[in-house]
């Protein structure tokens, strides 16, 4: 999934740019269609619990992840599907987890808010606003201590900026020059209230206070995200923390089932003009990629998703005994052997 030689807009058109943009587009489509599929299954009662979709925000995930290596780690949020998929977790494991199966990434114990795949450096979605940022901080510290050349990425929403933990982490990352990229998905909302009513500051000004270089970009244009992510990731690897603020759009409400009655209908209607998939499809067309290439991607991804859904449906439910035995690494062995 990762794209080591990331997209540069100035790199000129031609084959390379088109191929890179197409790879990014594929990532966008994979996230979008996966979440749309989940949305339908949620409505049908097949997906339990709460789910928070990243529809409208996919370009952040696809773009940032294109700049990472598999050794790089990320910590995510309650709205983590896009991050997880873009980081390259197993799609089968993802759907199986959302359907609470034993074959799920977390064996049905975590669900949407806890999707994780340590094997690809995805340290977990998180049900606690802000908590993932400190986990990414620790991961960055581990990379630095181990001198392994990897970086960590902390994803968080604009609402999370009000959490004290966020600030503690900004300070520590700056103080210790940790290889940590802060990525804010600024969708203008924290649950049901605009973040303008929650925050008396901008991330730009805050980052300036911590002397962490900050860039704010259009988070719905994956080419833009990928380009900035690539250069910031290189800076982070070399020099220490950076902040990437992505202006983006929360399309489907805070969680599935949220009718967003509190939002201006015009604003909601206007969101489609910034749809990340449409934006990128338009750019691809301009680069000469035809409808049929996009249709091929759509078909291929639809098939992958259906296969994952079917595999999940066929998979067994988790066993209670196995779950109970996994609270500790060696369950009570010290006690029994000693």
């Amino acid at each position: 999934m990762s794209q080591p030689g990331a997209m540069r807009s100035e790199a000129g058109a031609g084959h390379n740019a088109a191929a890179e943009l197409l790879a990014l587009y594929r990532s966008l489509v994979l996230i979008r269609r996966s979440e749309e599929r989940l949305s339908r299954m949620f409505a049908d009662g097949e997906v339990p619990g709460f789910i928070h979709l990243s529809i409208g925000q996919e370009a952040v995930s696809a773009g940032v992840m294109s700049a990472l290596t598999p050794q790089d780690t990320i910590a995510s949020t309650h709205r983590g599907h896009g991050h997880a998929i873009a980081k390259g977790i197993s799609l089968d494991g993802f759907f199986a987890e959302l359907l609470a199966r034993d074959t799920g990434l977390c064996r049905g114990r975590g669900g949407s808010m806890h999707v994780a795949d340590m094997s690809v450096g995805m340290l977990g979605a998180n049900g606690i606003v802000g908590a993932g940022v400190s986990i990414a901080l620790g991961s960055a510290l581990a990379h630095k201590t181990q001198k392994n050349g990897a970086i960590a990425v902390a994803f968080f929403g604009d609402g999370a900026l009000a959490e004290g933990l966020m600030h503690e982490c900004l300070n520590m990352a700056a103080l210790w020059k940790l290889p940590l990229l802060f990525v804010c998905e600024n969708n203008g909302w924290g649950e049901f209230l605009p973040t303008s009513k929650q925050l008396a500051f901008t991330l730009k000004d805050l980052a300036a206070a911590y002397r962490i270089p900050h860039v704010v970009i259009d988070g719905n244009d994956v080419a833009v995200v990928a380009e900035h992510a690539a250069s910031l990731v290189a800076e982070v690897r070399r020099d220490g923390p950076r902040v990437l603020e992505c202006m983006t759009t929360r399309v489907r409400g805070h969680f599935e089932g949220d009718a967003q009655k509190y939002r201006d209908p015009d604003e909601l209607a206007g969101l489609s003009a910034r749809d990340p998939l449409d934006v990128t499809a338009g750019q691809l067309k301009a680069l000469g990629i035809g409808e049929s290439a996009l249709a091929d991607i759509a078909d291929e991804i639809a098939a992958r998703i259906e296969a994952a859904v079917e595999a999940a449906r066929a998979a067994p439910m988790p066993s209670f005994e196995a779950a109970q035995a996994d609270v500790y690494t060696v369950s009570n062995a010290a006690r029994e052997n000693a």
Binding site: P48, G49, F50, A100, R101, C106, G108, R109, G110, G111, S112, M113, H114, N126, G127, I128, V129, G130, G159, A160, A162, E163, G164, G190, E191, F192, L193, K197, Q198, L199, Y262, M317, P318, F320, A323, Q324, V327
Partner: protein
């Protein structure tokens, strides 16, 4: 006399308390414009104004600390923490500030605040949105802890908690929000620290609180079919808890089972058992048993979660075991 849901009884208690006392304010994430994430404060901002029903940023520690400061300065704040799992972020405000202020300042001032928060599973909400952590708060001198099981007690206890001069952690169960019950028009305040006997029985005492009360009642129903009459005590308050009522019941039945949804180990039930194993020892004709959650996080999958939660069958089995 009005039939209303548990959630609406909370809403009504908040409204009545605010109407009766201008020093009562609400604060929390989305309690204002949105009327609360679960709807507990619906309509209150329109009725009482944005100065008294305050939407906070996502800053749990500061909002809880602010409640302490406001309570020391003449208000009666009612703070909402959206899920009990997030009380991990307000422990300092509750434990080191609210609970101790009266004592550590030599009794100079009370801290009349309430922290409302829902606990419990059953919604497939997973390990970080389902915990029952009341035992933590019950262990802290200076805090009171309340957990109603139905709309009537939800109303009466919340009014009492708001009227109380000391900090109260008021715990609601998410799975009870839709439950219906009678709440009379001028329903009385229910005293904190007082249990209710919801079903009488001579053979065994089952003590429970919150949603587990219904598990206990269902178990008592099953046992009655076998001729076993279990008495069901709804604790209502966890700190202080009504040890006289529990002891009196135990003295009639000589058998005790304690039920809750929180993890069994080091949970609320442990204290009830431990107290009865001291002051009630001579009344005991069988082991005191607990039926509670196993020692694991609350799992997401429905099947796992169902197996995790205490069931009437497990409670009935425990009663049979202590009678054996």
């Amino acid at each position: 006399m009005a039939e209303m849901r548990y959630l609406r009884a909370i809403n009504q208690a908040l409204a009545d308390a605010m109407a009766a006392d201008p020093s009562v304010i609400l604060l929390g994430e989305d309690v204002g414009e949105a009327g609360g994430s679960f709807g507990a404060s619906r309509g209150l901002r329109d009725r009482f104004g944005a100065e008294r029903v305050i939407d906070t940023p996502i800053s749990e520690a500061a909002l809880a600390g602010a409640a302490v400061g406001a309570a020391l300065s003449g208000l009666r704040p009612v703070a909402e923490i959206m899920f009990m799992d997030f009380t991990t972020l307000v422990m300092d405000a509750l434990v080191n500030q609210a609970a101790k202020a009266r004592f550590m300042f030599g009794g100079q001032r009370s801290v009349p605040m309430v922290l409302r928060t829902p606990h419990g599973g059953g919604l497939g909400a997973g390990p970080q949105h389902s915990q029952c952590l009341e035992a933590w708060f019950a262990h802290v001198p200076g805090l009171k802890v309340v957990c109603p099981s139905d709309p009537t007690s939800a109303y009466g206890l919340l009014r009492a908690a708001i009227a109380d001069p000391d900090p109260v952690v008021f715990i609601e169960h998410k799975a009870l929000y839709a439950m219906k019950g009678e709440v009379p028009d001028d329903a009385p305040l229910l005293p904190l620290g007082r249990a209710a006997i919801l079903r009488e029985g001579r053979d065994a005492t089952i003590v429970a609180y919150g949603a587990a009360v219904h598990t206990a009642l269902a178990a008592a129903g099953q046992l009655a079919e076998e001729g076993i009459e279990a008495e069901v005590v709804d604790l209502r308050s966890i700190q202080p808890w009504d040890e006289e009522t529990v002891l009196a019941s135990l003295s009639r039945t000589h058998r005790l089972v304690v039920v809750h949804e929180a993890v069994e180990a080091f949970g609320v039930g442990a204290e009830i058992v431990a107290r009865m194993a001291d002051i009630g020892f001579d009344e005991l004709d069988g082991p005191i048993l607990r039926v509670a959650a196993p020692f694991m996080p609350v799992p997401f999958s429905k099947g796992l979660e169902t197996a995790y939660l205490p069931s009437p069958e497990r409670v009935a089995a425990a009663v049979r075991r202590t009678l054996a």
